[in-house]
């Protein structure tokens, strides 16, 4: 069993390396695209005030060519290694691989990558997002494998429950998707601001200039919405399953434990996001900021609370 665990640890490293390569390929494709987009921006800079947002000149050329496709293939291959990492870890521990912060983080990163690949395959987002998605994924896995690393071990009795498995599985799914949506929302904000600046005839500097190689703002907005629309019911279910478990383990289904409180804040913020998209004056950028704030609440829920705040959940 210990041997399996150490294979799993090595595979995590391999996953990170493959993702990093994919990231470089995505970035290479980006760079090539930006080089192509430059003339268009010169045109904008020369003062064409009535440019529409989707002005074809500003838009990156349609993605084609090998390096971008290679990046996607590498990402998919990395995801397979990633999955094997998790499965071996689970077999070594004799339980699903989300029993501590290290395992949870590795699982969440897997969901984020899988969701991204799904969106690309489904044609809902452009693969050019890859560079921006893989950077946080690589950092996140790197942190998980170093700072949060925990050797395999059994669960404390309170954690050994059927509902807990369901609860955490749902939380992992929703968190992975939420984090992805947070990244996409940030990219949307970048692109929207870039559009605004170029439309006003101003020259945009790095990092805002990255916006030029991003897909259209409206498609980023839709992508981030559809990921949240998927994740929100899952998160709702995760909270409910957690409450059912808490009822069985601690005799109350809700107790405003810090972890519960932050899950609630996250939930309310995402509900706010869904409302904002239906409220005049809140669509677009304001709603995207809400999505970013909600993703921050999620990060606080998992990392800040686990590490710095004492509560019933603090052994998790």
């Amino acid at each position: 069993m210990q041997a399996l665990a150490s294979v799993s640890d090595k595979l995590l490293f391999a996953t990170i390396v493959v993702y990093a390569l994919a990231m470089l390929c995505f970035a290479g494709e980006q760079a090539a695209r930006r080089a192509r987009a430059v003339p268009a921006r010169v045109l904008v800079g020369a003062g064409a005030p009535l440019l529409s947002k989707d002005q074809p000149g500003v838009r990156p050329a349609a993605p084609r060519g090998g390096i971008g496709r290679l990046a996607v293939v590498l990402t998919a291959g990395g995801a397979v290694v990633h999955l094997v990492t998790l499965v071996l870890r689970g077999i070594a521990a004799g339980r699903p691989p989300w029993g501590n912060m290290y395992e949870f983080s590795v699982s969440v990163a897997f969901v984020a990558v899988a969701a991204f690949l799904y969106l690309v395959a489904d044609g809902r987002v452009d693969r050019s997002l890859g560079a921006f998605v893989m950077v946080p994924v690589v950092l996140y896995l790197g942190l998980a494998g170093t700072v949060l690393y925990t050797p395999v071990g059994p669960l404390v009795p309170a954690l050994d429950s059927y509902w807990l498995k369901i609860h955490v599985a749902a939380a992992v799914m929703a968190s992975g998707a939420f984090l992805l949506s947070g990244v996409v929302a940030l990219l949307y904000l970048t692109r929207a601001r870039y559009d605004e600046q170029t439309a006003a005839g101003r020259t945009v500097r790095f990092p805002l200039s990255l916006g030029g190689s991003l897909p259209a703002a409206s498609s980023l907005d839709r992508a981030s919405y559809s990921v949240i629309a998927f994740a929100f019911p899952v998160w709702t279910f995760a909270i409910i399953a957690g409450a059912i478990w808490a009822e069985a383990a601690w005799g109350r289904y809700w107790g405003w434990d810090p972890k519960e409180t932050w899950s609630f804040i996250t939930w309310v913020l995402y509900a706010g996001y869904l409302h904002a998209r239906a409220t005049a004056g809140w669509k677009g950028r304001k709603a995207a900021w809400v999505a970013v704030a909600a993703a921050c609440a999620l990060i606080i829920d998992y990392y800040v609370v686990n590490i710095f705040v004492v509560g019933l959940h603090s052994y998790a």
């Binding site: 071990g153 404390v156 601690w250 405003w256 932050w262 239906a278 004492v310």
Partner: protein, 539 residues
């Protein structure tokens, strides 16, 4: 006119069933200002603001220690931040979720919510009874549209189109020689949305019921002892505001045996309490093995949970006269994960002076050879030692001041017996200087049980299920409309068929659906294969 009958060429938002915001102001009326305030409160913008306030208001509850959860840590916070803490306390920041301002936010939110649900339900009920709206004048201006010709008559073409949309809500209208079909689908979206919001209200009712009529109590029971459900038998209770004694369930149980297992490293593996219990005084008793995550359903809505455990060394104390003054298992309170535990033994029946002992219990004992200090290296009772110092004098138990059984604090009329701490292994006796003795006879364990009753729990569970179902419907069902118009006047007297569609959300996947749909319609009406440029894509 409801939003369902808005003008023909409309933005996708026209398919919303959201109630129209603020109509014409009612002027010169006494109720006008109230009505305006009500509309304001039930507007989407206010709902959004209140949601943000709810999230923001919960933040201090997620960072600061909360009294209901960790009173000790609130005290620690007070000593760490003596000037800040009282200010925070005045703002109820240590009791966020019981504070008046938090209640104000969620009550306003729920008033707004109800004010939102009622008109939306009315509108939706009406929408369900209203046929889909008439075909817009220029279908080609819709984002998804198509056009072809057929040999069928306009009436037959529309009838065929109608048959090709079996699960849609359809209405056929005939206008001087031409025929029109309006079809609509996805009413479950708004139904789901309403179900979700109504479930939120039901959930709040469930929570409130639990808060008002619920009960929570904890009790420590040593092996061999029992418990019967009565207020006085609890160590600690938190009753709901409307809870009364008669609400208690009549169960009782005896703790026959408690056992815990640990890993070699001392991490807990299992906890089990073997009970003999009965749901009422006259009911036959039965065994139950109580474990973490497996509470005992004790009847009457009461559930018994295992929440803690520790050791209770069995001691026999003789007074200087030679009488057995105490023969009992004394619960000791664990101080660390290895179960080094503090013990306080009071012997009020000793004569001529009362006696007391303080000490530590160490389940797997290691003694520092230099200092003599004992520690425990594992939580299992592999090498148990009870280390005590003795006292004589007056325990002050008659003074009418309630005293903790777990400490000698406040009993200043005791004199320490002049002897070093005595380490006793099971079966060993310490004969005290000046008479009297204490024997560590054996090791029992104790467990703490929490008993809860929550009459709102089931309702809250149903409401939660309603929320998830409602969400799934409202986020994944798409409301969409399709129109077909067939008019004479094509080439060679053929019929021209025009189709158009509209979806409120997700224009992209609707474009695909519409493409598949028109392909089917062309098939049924004998039109040519679809032209590759249609349907037009959004964005």
């Amino acid at each position: 006119m409801t939003s369902l009958q808005e003008g023909p060429v409309q933005d996708a938002a026209g398919l919303s069933t959201q109630p129209a915001e603020v109509g014409a102001p009612v002027r010169g009326s006494f109720v006008a200002p109230y009505r305006r305030a009500w509309r304001q409160l039930t507007s989407m913008r206010t709902a959004l603001l209140l949601l943000f306030l709810l999230a923001l208001g919960s933040v201090p509850g997620g960072f600061l220690p909360q009294r209901a959860l960790a009173p000790q840590r609130v005290k620690e916070y007070y000593s760490a931040h003596p000037s800040l803490a009282p200010v925070l306390d005045r703002l109820s920041l240590f009791d966020v979720f019981a504070s008046p301002w938090f209640a104000a936010v969620y009550l306003l939110l729920f008033v707004s919510l109800i004010g939102c649900i009622v008109p939306r339900t009315r509108l939706h009920a009406k929408a369900l009874r209203t046929p889909p709206p008439k075909v817009p004048h220029t279908l080609s201006r819709l984002r998804a549209s198509d056009r072809w010709e057929t040999d069928l008559s306009p009436q037959d073409a529309v009838a065929a189109a109608r048959a090709a949309l079996p699960r849609w809500r359809r209405v056929v209208r005939e206008v001087s020689g031409s025929a029109e079909l309006s079809a609509e689908k996805g009413y479950l979206r708004e139904t789901g949305n309403l179900l979700f919001h109504v479930s939120l209200v039901v959930l709040l009712v469930g929570i409130a019921l639990g808060g008002l009529y619920g009960f929570k109590g904890t009790v420590l029971v040593t092996e061999g002892s029992g418990f019967a459900d009565a207020i006085i038998n609890y160590d600690d209770i938190t009753p709901g505001r409307r809870f009364t004694q008669d609400g208690l369930a009549p169960f009782h149980f005896t703790l026959d045996d408690f056992h815990a297992t640990y890993t070699a490293a001392g991490a807990a593996r299992t906890f089990e309490a073997d009970l003999t219990w009965a749901p009422g005084p006259d009911a036959p008793t039965r065994p139950y093995r109580l474990r973490v995550n497996h509470p005992l359903e004790a009847g009457g809505g009461a559930k018994v949970y295992l929440v803690g455990h520790g050791y209770a060394p069995h001691v026999v104390v003789k007074d200087p006269k030679g009488n057995v003054a105490l023969d009992q298992s004394v619960p000791c309170l664990p101080q660390n994960p290895k179960f080094l535990s503090n013990c306080t033994i009071k012997v009020p029946d000793a004569e001529p002076d009362q006696m007391a002992f303080e000490g530590v219990f160490t389940p797997t004992t290691v003694q520092d050879p230099k200092t003599g200090q004992v520690t425990s290296v594992h939580p299992a009772a592999a090498l148990p030692v009870l280390t005590v110092v003795g006292y004589r004098g007056d325990l002050g138990v008659d003074a009418g001041i309630p005293r903790s059984v777990f400490s000698l604090e406040g009993t200043d009329r005791l004199t320490k017996v002049d002897a070093p701490p005595q380490g006793l292994r099971p079966g060993e006796t310490w004969k005290m200087p000046g008479g009297g003795s204490i024997t560590y006879a054996g090791t029992d364990e104790w467990a703490t049980f929490q008993v809860t009753q929550d009459p709102g729990k089931v309702l809250a569970l149903y409401a939660s299920a309603g929320m998830v179902l409602g969400l799934l419907l409202s986020l994944f069902v798409r409301r969409r409309r399709v129109w077909v118009r067939a008019v004479p006047g094509g080439a060679d007297g053929r019929t021209v068929v025009e189709a158009g569609g509209l979806s409120r959300t997700d224009a992209e996947s609707f474009a695909n659906e519409f493409g598949a749909l028109t392909e089917r319609l062309r098939d049924r009406t004998g039109g040519p294969a679809p032209s590759p440029t249609l349907p037009e894509k959004d964005g």
